[in-house]
């Protein structure tokens, strides 16, 4: 049990003293995961909504496939991106391996399925509820989509949080494509892995506490936003 209390104390110490290494690592982690969330949402949310609203041949296959991809292990995604970005790979000429950009690419691929699948579910349920009324008012799926997304904004926000959580918590993908390079591609999760491999379990756990604090902050913030919005509507 002392390991846990030591870890908690260490983490508080790290945060309070604004440890420089830690700040650098935290900022990079946030930058990578938020960038990935941004790009993944831009691609996956419209795709999820489109699959929800339109019927076309092969739709069921796409839905099943999207759902299944949510279970992709991060290390497999990392491996695939590594092989694509490696100098001997198809995109090697860009020299992106072992850079934060590679990490963002890997995380985008990792979280697109979950954002797409959850968006699809939310929009599908909303459309089932609203379709008749919206069509009566003259809005087919194309025109209704903005109204649906706005209407489902809180559920969709949860989808985004799920995506962010998956990105910021994974270590397999960023380790392989980033290389855990000190000051360049070292993020929270790879730092934790490194400290474990060095046997410094207390520091690893402390970093884990910091990571949890960030996740709590993100989720708490989202919840607070929702509460504020609801209060202002009254």
């Amino acid at each position: 049990m002392t390991d846990f209390s030591d870890a908690l104390l260490t983490s508080v110490g790290l945060i309070v003293n604004l440890n420089q290494d830690l700040t650098e690592i935290v900022l990079l982690s946030l930058r990578v995961s938020f960038s990935a969330l941004f790009i993944a949402t831009l691609i996956a949310m419209p795709v999820g909504a489109a699959v929800a609203l339109y019927r076309f041949p092969g739709r069921t296959a796409i839905v099943v496939f999207m759902n299944a991809l949510m279970g992709l292990p991060p290390v497999v995604v990392g491996l695939i991106v590594y092989l694509l970005l490696s100098r001997t790979g198809p995109f090697g000429v860009f020299g992106l391996l072992f850079t934060p950009t590679a990490m963002i690419i890997a995380q985008v691929l990792l979280i697109m399925p979950i954002i797409g699948a959850l968006t699809r579910q939310v929009i599908e349920d909303l459309w089932a509820e609203y379709e008749e009324q919206l069509r009566s008012l003259g809005a087919g799926p194309g025109r209704a989509i903005t109204a649906l997304i706005w209407d489902g904004r809180y559920s969709l926000l949860t989808a985004l949080l799920a995506g962010f959580g998956r990105a910021s918590a994974e270590v397999g993908a960023v380790m392989i494509v980033g290389g855990n390079i000190d000051h360049v591609t070292r993020v929270m999760t790879t730092s934790i892995a490194l400290e474990v491999s060095k046997g410094d379990l207390v520091l690893a756990l402390a970093l884990g506490c910091v990571l949890m604090a960030i996740s709590l902050g993100a989720n708490g913030g989202a919840y607070g936003m929702k509460a504020l919005a609801e209060r202002s509507e009254k």
């Binding site: 609203y130 008749e132 009324q133 009566s136 008012l137 003259g138 809005a139």
Partner: protein, 250 residues
């Protein structure tokens, strides 16, 4: 968007058929409706009234037969129609925003929308709810809001599918008052109900539907005093159209 510009009436249905699976739910329906009289589509539950309304409004496509509006080739008939359903479907936004949305879909400018929305909320007595989330309103108030949303579009025809089925008498009265106002302003009312009292109160003409067939189409006065169809007569009397009663066909 005035009601009288280039009327889409008369509405002509010819041999309309609708099948789901191997069941024929609408069976060779033919009739013509003119703008003007309040049309009540009357019949027991399961007669196909709601289905008929949705076919006319264009929400469902028929399996056979034709639905023809006047001059329908030239423009989209749904631009001139609106519908209120049995349950109000409101977006998760304020009452005012829900009405505003319907106008925005029709391309009305922002200033116009604000003015029209305010006006219709006043006319339906919903001004106090304007900025509140529509979904926290009571069921009756939401149905009124649905009516307001339809009214603000100044449609040539307003379809209503058993809109007061779940409302208490007070709310029903208020609702029917507004329908009267809408009708007076020039909108054709086509409403379904299985409630005899409501039919008597509101109808100018009646279409009696049973098991997907049109059994009688008469002016209201004639229908209620001297119905031509035996099943219609039985229905008016208050009988359940079931079992042995169904053997009586016109």
């Amino acid at each position: 968007m005035t009601v009288n510009a280039d009327s889409i009436f008369p509405l002509e249905l010819t041999d309309l058929r609708y099948e789901a699976g191997d069941k024929r739910l609408i069976n060779d329906l033919s009739f013509t409706l003119k703008a003007g009289p309040r049309t009540i589509i009357l019949g027991p539950n399961g007669a196909g009234k709601s289905l008929l309304l949705r076919l006319c409004h264009g929400l469902i496509n028929p399996s056979g037969g034709a639905i023809r509006w006047h001059g329908a080739q030239a423009r989209n008939p749904s631009d001139f129609q609106a519908m209120v359903f049995q349950r109000p479907i409101m977006l998760r936004r304020s009452a005012q925003a829900n009405v505003d949305y319907a106008l925005a879909l029709r391309g009305v400018s922002r200033a116009e929308r604000k003015h029209l929305t305010q006006e219709v909320l006043e006319k339906t007595g919903l001004t106090e709810f304007a900025k509140r989330p529509a979904r926290v309103m009571s069921f009756g108030e939401q149905q009124k809001l649905a009516l307001a949303r339809a009214w603000v579009l100044k449609p040539q025809v307003l379809f209503l599918d058993e809109p007061t089925a779940s409302l208490d008498p007070g709310a029903t009265y208020a609702f029917e008052e507004i329908i009267a106002e809408i009708h007076a302003a020039g909108t054709k009312i086509i409403m379904t109900t299985h409630n005899m009292g409501q039919a008597r109160r509101l109808a100018d003409e009646v279409l009696f539907i049973h098991q997907g067939k049109l059994l009688e189409h008469s002016p209201a006065a004639d229908f209620f005093t001297a119905p031509k169809n035996p099943l219609a007569e039985a229905f008016i009397r208050g009988d359940l159209l079931w079992g042995p009663n169904q053997e009586m066909q016109s």
